[in-house]
């Protein structure tokens, strides 16, 4: 078996909306596939089909070589799902939620309790274990949700935007969890709106928009297309914006852009450029309130791939 899961030409329509217009996704066992796309791209729809919750209108999908429609029952034994919207029971405590799932996965009650305690400890929820989930913070719910999808030690795990709305520290926790799952041999499908997240975790990335894959490759190959990194400078004194832009132009050899007021950015190829920018800004005595080296945003990725901004960015701009 070459792929842990595979979708070929998936089509899904809701009335006149085409959520998926023939999408291909696949991951080899023990790897992470990042599915990157803006709101409404079809990420959740694709995940729901692969998780046997939705029937496709066209195309096919398999998990472990088994068709998700014809062998749904057997596929369900292999998968774990953390949906985009919390799928824990708010009235049940953390422990009760996990024990219930253990029992539904045919663990004996005693075993289910052990497994629940294990997972609660692993996700730093032991203290909150006896409280109803509705008293949990957003981050705690997300972690409980992730724990719930791991009770049965699934081979294939779907994580639908697992870090949206989390602060950076909590996000790092989830990232580490994903890494350790993969180290244990699981295959992960992770949807996200952040190139940074896909870059940090994925072995391969599929960029989707309007229900189609518009780019696919390793993070490195994708970054080669969309430009590696971006340097952003916000001078303390707005009058020196032009000077800062001059520095960026000189170092990178590209014409800097000003995406918002008081800020200039320019794509660069390596982090050597960053050191050089810092040096020159210092030499010219340009104080800064913000100076960063970052990966392109989703909007910038889309702009590079399609020559268009994402719809959301257009709405914001309009």
């Amino acid at each position: 078996m070459e792929h842990a899961f595979e979708a070929e030409g998936l089509v899904k329509r809701y009335g006149k909306t085409t959520a998926l217009a023939g999408i291909d996704l696949a991951a080899r066992p023990g790897t992470v596939l990042g599915v990157l796309g803006p709101n409404g791209a079809g990420k959740t729809t694709a995940v729901r089909i692969l998780a046997t919750l939705l029937r496709p209108d066209g195309g096919r999908a398999t998990v472990g070589g088994l068709d998700v429609v014809r062998h749904a029952a057997r596929v369900r034994r292999m998968i774990g799902l953390t949906g985009q919207y919390a799928s824990v029971d708010e009235d049940l405590t953390g422990t009760q939620n996990l024990v219930l799932i253990g029992q539904l996965l045919n663990l004996r009650t005693a075993e289910a309790k052990v497994r629940a305690a294990e997972l609660l400890a692993e996700f730093d929820l032991t203290e909150a274990a006896g409280r109803p989930a509705k008293t949990y913070s957003g981050g705690m719910r997300r972690r409980l949700d992730l724990a719930a999808s791991l009770v049965g030690r699934p081979d294939v795990i779907y994580l639908d935007e697992p870090t949206t709305g989390l602060d950076p520290a909590k996000r790092d926790d989830i990232w580490n969890q994903v890494r350790s799952l993969v180290a244990d041999g699981a295959t992960v499908l992770l949807t996200t709106q952040y190139l940074e997240e896909a870059d940090a975790l994925a072995d391969e990335i599929s960029v989707i928009d309007h229900g189609r894959v518009i780019a696919h490759g390793t993070p490195a190959s994708l970054k080669a297309v969309v430009g590696g990194q971006t340097i952003l400078v916000r001078p303390a004194d707005p009058a020196r914006l032009a000077d800062a832009a001059g520095v960026l132009a000189a170092v990178s050899g590209h014409q800097p852009e000003s995406p918002s007021r008081g800020v200039v950015t320019v794509p660069v190829d390596g982090d050597a450029a960053f050191t050089e920018v810092v040096k020159r800004l210092d030499l010219l005595g340009i104080g800064v309130t913000e100076l960063s080296l970052r990966l392109p945003s989703l909007d910038e990725v889309f702009f590079s791939l399609t020559g268009q901004h994402t719809e959301r960015a257009e709405e914001v701009a309009a």
Binding site: P29, T31, R48, I79, L81, A86, G152, A183, G185
Partner: protein
């Protein structure tokens, strides 16, 4: 690049017998916990029947039976049926709310029988009927209600009433699966429940009713259960009404159960 890591951990999902029963019971426990965590959900099976009893006994008791005590004796076994039958409506309403939440997505993605979440809810809501029966007896006792048969018959009456309500609740589950929103479930259920519970001899003897209504009372399944409940608690003929009650209970489970499960499967 070849990463083909072997799974380090064994899959714990070993087959064990009676899966559907175990899964349904685990899910029944879930709904029990939910009910106990918000006891105000039990108001419809505690406060509401008490209000009905008070209103009917003191408003109609003198007119119908000549004395409030005689009327209470006749009314309470019937109100017990009405309350439990109405109590099943909440199962449909709650399920309709529940299936839209993420937690039902999780159940659907697990390797369990499709019917388990529905059976679990219906079983867990048995607590509602038990609470209804117990609180009605307690309140009736305070007002002067007395069982005129024996303890065993009284127990049989309670079990029969609960069984019937359980069976009929599958119809509400079906409505809960088909309706778009909880309000609609309630509307449809009320529409069906009024002729079912009031088209009986619950508050007045059928002999005083017009012909068309009397023929409805005669075939209405709920009438049979009320007759059986009166027979078992007060004495009088029981065999016929009990058999009819059991017959209708079986019919409701066998018809509405599979239909509800089918509607649940289709609804994704």
């Amino acid at each position: 690049m070849t990463i083909t890591a072997e799974r380090v951990l064994p899959a714990p999902v070993a087959p064990r017998p009676f899966g559907l029963v175990r899964h349904s019971l685990a899910l029944a426990r879930r709904s029990l916990i939910k009910t106990l965590r918000s006891p105000e959900q039990l108001l419809d099976v505690t406060l509401q029947p008490v209000v009905f009893v008070v209103v009917f006994v003191y408003l109609l008791g003198g007119a119908v039976s000549g004395s409030t005590h005689d009327y209470l004796q006749l009314l309470l076994p019937a109100i017990m049926v009405q309350t439990t039958v109405f109590g099943g409506m909440a199962t449909g309403v709650n399920l309709n709310t529940d299936i839209r939440k993420g937690v039902f997505d999780r159940f659907r993605s697990l390797p369990i029988g499709r019917s388990a979440p529905l059976i679990g809810s219906v079983l867990g809501d048995l607590i509602r009927y038990v609470v209804a029966v117990v609180s009605l007896f307690a309140f009736g006792y305070v007002l002067g209600f007395r069982v005129e048969t024996d303890l065993l018959s009284a127990l049989a009456a309670c079990l029969l009433v609960i069984l019937f309500a359980f069976s009929l609740s599958w119809a509400f589950v079906l409505v809960g699966m088909l309706a778009r929103e909880p309000g609609a479930v309630q509307g449809i259920a009320f529409l069906a429940l009024f002729p079912l519970t009031f088209g009986t001899s619950m508050i007045a003897p059928a002999a005083t009713m017009p012909d068309w209504l009397r023929s409805w009372v005669a075939v209405n399944p709920v009438s049979h259960v009320m007759d059986a409940s009166r027979g078992l608690l007060l004495g009088g003929p029981v065999a016929g009404p009990v058999l009819w009650s059991l017959f209708w209970s079986a019919v409701f489970v066998l018809v509405f159960g599979p239909l509800a499960v089918r509607a649940y499967r289709r609804r994704t």
